[in-house]
């Protein structure tokens, strides 16, 4: 008798949860409720995204044995493969868009023409895991300054060489303030070695104050624009799939 009652209560609980799951699913797919779901992002950006606080830097002893790979496979097109086999000879990082002097840099240019910054920070994936790595590279703001951004430039788009297998290329974006963060790097070394293919060779973005998907890999072109939207989608590959543009939480 008691067993029956427990069984009944269990079923009741599961079926009421199931009802909630169904209501929640239906609301998720409703366009009006979508606006409510999307609203907190602006609040999060205004509060947590304000200022330029620095992410914690760790001692070498905290470095993770393996910097986990997630996301797309490295590009496999012949040009990328030949670059990767020839010390990135021929690869260039372009800076274009709303700048006075569009320019481009080889990996060696990045190593020699800008102050090198070393940063041992935690990488927090949107999935929930974290790894710590020691990155070396140049500040995004230094690279942008070399091209003299125009005043109407408000966003920085990072175009990447990797794609999702259907041809949709990875890309990401920051606003000018986020791009000017002292820890926003274009990294060429990880843990004392050139960035491995799986972690975004030859140059990857590092934005330790936001979730890992902002830290775009295999960056080939940096474009300054006035506004997101239109051709620039929601400002990133994962943003186009419904993830927040402000990935600080």
């Amino acid at each position: 008798m008691k067993l029956h009652r427990a069984h009944f209560l269990g079923l009741l609980a599961a079926s009421s949860l199931s009802g909630c799951a169904r209501i929640g699913t239906a609301l998720t797919e409703n366009d009006n409720f979508r606006r409510v779901l999307d609203a907190p992002e602006r609040l999060n950006l205004a509060i947590l995204g304000a200022g330029q606080p620095l992410s914690r830097e760790y001692p070498d002893s905290a470095i993770s044995p393996d910097f986990r790979h997630n996301g797309f496979d490295p590009p496999s097109d012949p040009q990328f493969v030949s670059w990767s086999r020839n010390g990135w000879h021929g690869y260039r990082l372009f800076v274009s868009g709303l700048v006075d002097t569009p320019t481009s840099f080889s990996v060696d240019d990045l190593r020699t023409k800008f102050p090198a910054i070393t940063q041992t920070t935690r990488h927090d994936c949107v999935e929930g895991w974290s790894v710590i790595g020691k990155w070396r590279g140049v500040r995004v703001r230094d690279v942008l300054a070399a091209a003299s951004p125009q005043p109407q430039a408000k966003f920085v788009v990072f175009h990447c060489l990797d794609d999702d297998g259907t041809g949709a290329k990875y890309y990401e974006s920051l606003d000018m303030r986020q791009a000017a963060h002292p820890q926003a790097l274009l990294a060429y070394d990880l843990n004392g070695e050139p960035v491995p293919l799986k972690n975004g060779a030859p140059v990857r973005l590092r934005v330790p104050t936001q979730l890992g998907y902002k830290s775009a890999k295999h960056v080939s072109k940096i474009e300054l624009i006035a506004a997101l939207g239109g051709d620039y989608g929601k400002g990133g590959y994962w943003e186009d799939q419904g993830y927040e543009w402000f990935a600080g939480i």
Binding site: A14, S15, L17, S18, C20, A21, R22, G24, T25, T28, V36, L37, D38, A39, P40, E41, L43, N44, L48, G49, G51, P53, L54, S55, R56, A62, S64, D66, R68, R122, D124, C125, V126, E127, G128, W129, S130, V131, I132, P208, T209, Q210, L211, W238, Q241, G242, Y243, E244, G248, I249
Partner: protein, 258 residues
């Protein structure tokens, strides 16, 4: 003789029901989020080879898919409930939690996060509004003295009578949730945000690191769910309608018996 007491002011009634909704949504969307990486580590960064807790799917000797839950060194088979369970479309799939327990029912980390963060704001704002009133929940000296007696009374929960004043055990339970579990859930949740951590690196440090904060977040959820079960049971056993009416209208009505 009927005694009528105005027990719950408006702010308590509104925040009570909003928080109840928020806890439901936060739990179900939290399970959705946890499915993206159903593993916990007692450290700052993930030690992928030694999770203290994980949920996964496997195949048994006959090649059939099975669900497993690992806690420390123990592994339990949980096929049908955790690890290998309902996909919400009539079948089973490799997912940590069944479709009927997550928002949305189908796997979608992005939407799960949107729901979770929206209702985290609801919970946070309610907590602020409620906190002003909730200092009444601090136990008095006499209530601490009477606590063992109240615990004994609750050993036979169907004999417990709802009274206009909270009894000491009841008040302690509310106190632990309001000043312990809910703040722990909020703080450990904030510690998962890389932007929050840049503002206040001492918060994740205090909790044992970012991955350890996930453990605290998980513990707080189970604690709150445990409270909910006890709370619902006592509400039902001590006069479901009387209690429900009080939390809707504010008025607690006791019929005195001869």
């Amino acid at each position: 003789m009927t005694e009528r007491v105005y027990r719950h002011p408006l702010v308590v009634r509104i925040t009570h029901w909003l928080v109840a909704l928020a806890i439901l949504v936060l739990t179900m969307s939290g399970l959705q989020i946890f499915m993206a990486h159903p593993a916990l580590y007692a450290s700052d960064a993930s030690r992928f080879h030694s999770p203290v807790f994980s949920i996964f799917s496997d195949v048994d000797a006959s090649g059939q898919p099975v669900g497993k839950v690992q806690i420390g060194r123990a592994v339990f088979t949980t096929t049908g409930l955790f690890g290998w369970t309902s996909d919400g479309m009539g079948g089973q799939a490799s997912r940590a939690f069944p479709a009927w327990s997550t928002i949305p029912a189908y796997r979608d980390l992005a939407d799960g996060r949107r729901w979770h963060i929206l209702f985290a704001w609801v919970l946070g704002l309610c907590a602020l509004a409620y906190a002003v009133w909730a200092f009444k929940l601090f136990p008095t000296k006499s209530e601490i003295r009477e606590l063992p007696e109240a615990v004994k009374e609750h050993a036979l929960p169907w004999k417990v009578k709802a009274t206009p004043q909270y009894n000491p055990l009841q008040k302690t339970a509310y106190f632990v949730v309001v000043f312990g579990l809910v703040p722990l859930a909020i703080v450990s949740g904030l510690a998962l945000s890389p932007s929050f951590d840049a503002w206040a690196p001492w918060v994740p440090a205090l909790l044992g690191g970012r991955q350890f904060a996930r453990i605290w977040h998980f513990v707080a959820m189970w604690g709150i769910l445990g409270f909910f079960v006890g709370h619902f049971l006592m509400v039902a056993l001590t006069g479901f309608w009387t209690n429900l009416r009080a939390m809707i209208t504010g008025w607690f009505v006791v019929k005195e018996q001869q």
